[in-house]
Amino acid sequence: MSPDAAPILEVSGVVKRFGGFHALDGLSFHVSPGEILGLVGPNGSGKTTAINVISGLYAPDAGSVSFAQTQVGGMASHKLVHLGINRTFQVPKPFMSLTVKQNVEVARTYGGATDKSPPMADLLEEYRLADVANRPASDLTNAQQKMLDLVRALATQPKLLLLDELAAGLNPTELDWIAGRIKALAQGGLAIIVVEHLMGFIEQITDRVIVMNAGKEIFEGTLAVAVKVPQVIEVFLGGEHAA
């Protein structure tokens, strides 16, 4: 990662309310091409909401989201996909009755794949789905469905990839392997935001983390520094550990 690279995504002062609850309460951060940013925080701190706002599922109630110098807050998801934003889901959401190949085919056809896009066979091979290419997605294991989600996202050639708990439920061997894949994607120039509870995994792959609590960022920097900051310790472990 080059620290000087101009950010591709800038989130500033984003507010998202559900009734009276402020899921996001003035969240600001940025991420640059080639960088892997970790989004960590206790349950309910707004990590997934942040991903949902950036990927167009929710429109922000206030603040701005700018992607490659374009204001994208509240834009329809399929348009964001065409601009170069994509994501995976905490609970994988493939098209269950369609085959693995058909799943990827939809994303290639409608997500703006070009001649330069990686061929489908390569993508399936790379993410260990080649053997099940002609099976319906409903036949896949949870880990395979997660990979299919990722391949679906990659087939649209994103510039920014949001990974919502991709690692949860993978075994240690799979974790090492997927960590390698994610790093390789970042080296190819992709900006990646990782939401994850597994701190070892975050440590292994991220360049920088944002620690969130109650809908806003309370720390930005490396994970190694974060774990020494009293405020961070307090939200994760409770006040008595912070002293």
């Binding site: 990927s55 167009g56 599922l57 329809a76 998801s77 399929h78 996909v81 065409h82 994509n86 994501r87 889901f89 959401k93 493939p94 098209f95 269950m96 009755s97 369609l98 058909q102 799943n103 085919e105 939809v106 994303a107 056809t109 409608y110 997500g111 703006g112 989600d149 679906r152 996202a153 087939a155 649209t156």
Partner: protein
């Protein structure tokens, strides 16, 4: 041979040919015509339910709107029947446009709202205050255009169009994207698919074929009341036939119509006293044992059913 061509050659063309020659060897012309109508309506349900997941309980609204579109063109403008049939299709598409906001609803809410919409259209047309335009509840008599032979031919043309749409959906990336929307609309939009656009196109295509079927039905029967062409039986039969065969396939709804409408008429002729009992049991058996339709007997074994 590409799948599209095979599907036309081995499913659509044989069916159309059989239906075209059937009147010369079988003399119950009305029964054959009803088969054509139900082939169209079952495939129309297939387009909207099979490919997008919206179950239209008020599907007959489009059919009735098409029938009255035909009747008004003939009564007030003396339009030739084929033109009036096309207008019937157009009227249904306009009704589909007006009802587009229903697509914001999902599951049973959509089905109920659609049913209510069909009833609203029925009572608008059957309103005595509109007698000058629609003849209200007193029904229409269109003696001038009565021509069952031509109407039957028109029905076959409309069936050909409908089959063309379904074969296209089954084999195109557009149809694949529709199915993706049906499976998970947010994942579909994250694949770059414009979900709203896809749904409205399928909705209008489905409305179009039902409207054309309504128009050609009006042409064929020439005398009818609002309650006839807005009868809930049309919606229910079309849905049951499509589901019985298996939706999101080309052959499923056709098989459903052949078997169920065939049995329906067979029991109706031979043992009418047991009719509703046998028919009801058959449908219950279907829901219990084959919820994904007859074609699932094959797809379960990994066979691909066109």
């Amino acid at each position: 041979m590409p799948d599209t061509v095979r599907h036309y050659l081995f499913i659509a063309v044989p069916l159309l040919v059989v239906l075209a020659v059937a009147p010369s060897v079988y003399n119950n012309h009305l029964l054959l015509f009803n088969f054509v109508i139900f082939f169209i309506l079952a495939q129309g349900v297939n387009i909207i339910y099979g490919f997008t997941g919206y179950l239209p309980f008020g599907y007959v609204g489009f059919f009735g709107a098409g029938a009255y579109g035909f009747a008004i063109m003939v009564m007030h403008l003396n339009a030739p029947a084929p033109l009036a049939v096309l207008v019937g299709g157009a009227v249904a598409v306009v009704l589909g446009l007006i009802l587009t906001p229903l697509l914001r609803l999902s599951g049973a809410y959509f089905s109920i709202a659609n049913l209510a919409a069909a009833l609203a259209v029925l009572h608008l047309i059957a309103n005595p205050a509109l007698e000058q335009i629609t003849k209200g509840p007193y029904g229409v008599a269109l003696n001038g255009t009565f021509n069952p032979t031509m109407a039957y031919a028109g029905g076959i043309l409309i069936l050909a169009l409908t089959l063309g749409i379904v074969v296209y959906l089954k084999n195109s990336s557009f149809g694949l994207a529709l199915q993706a929307v049906r499976e998970d609309s947010f994942s579909a939009s994250m694949s770059g698919v414009s979900v709203v656009r896809m749904r409205t196109i399928a909705w209008r295509a489905s409305a179009l074929v039902a409207g054309l079927a309504g128009g050609v039905f009006a042409w064929y029967v020439s005398v009818f009341y609002p309650d006839n062409v807005f009868s809930a039986d049309f919606s229910i039969f079309a849905i049951v036939f499509a589901l019985f065969g298996g939706v999101a396939t080309i052959s499923g709804p056709l098989i459903g119509v052949i078997i169920l409408y065939g049995i329906y008429n067979l029991i109706g002729f031979t043992t009418p006293q047991y009719f509703q009992l046998i028919y009801g049991l058959l449908i219950m058996a279907l829901v219990l044992f084959l919820p994904a339709g007859l074609v699932s007997l094959a797809t379960r074994r990994g066979w691909n059913v066109p």
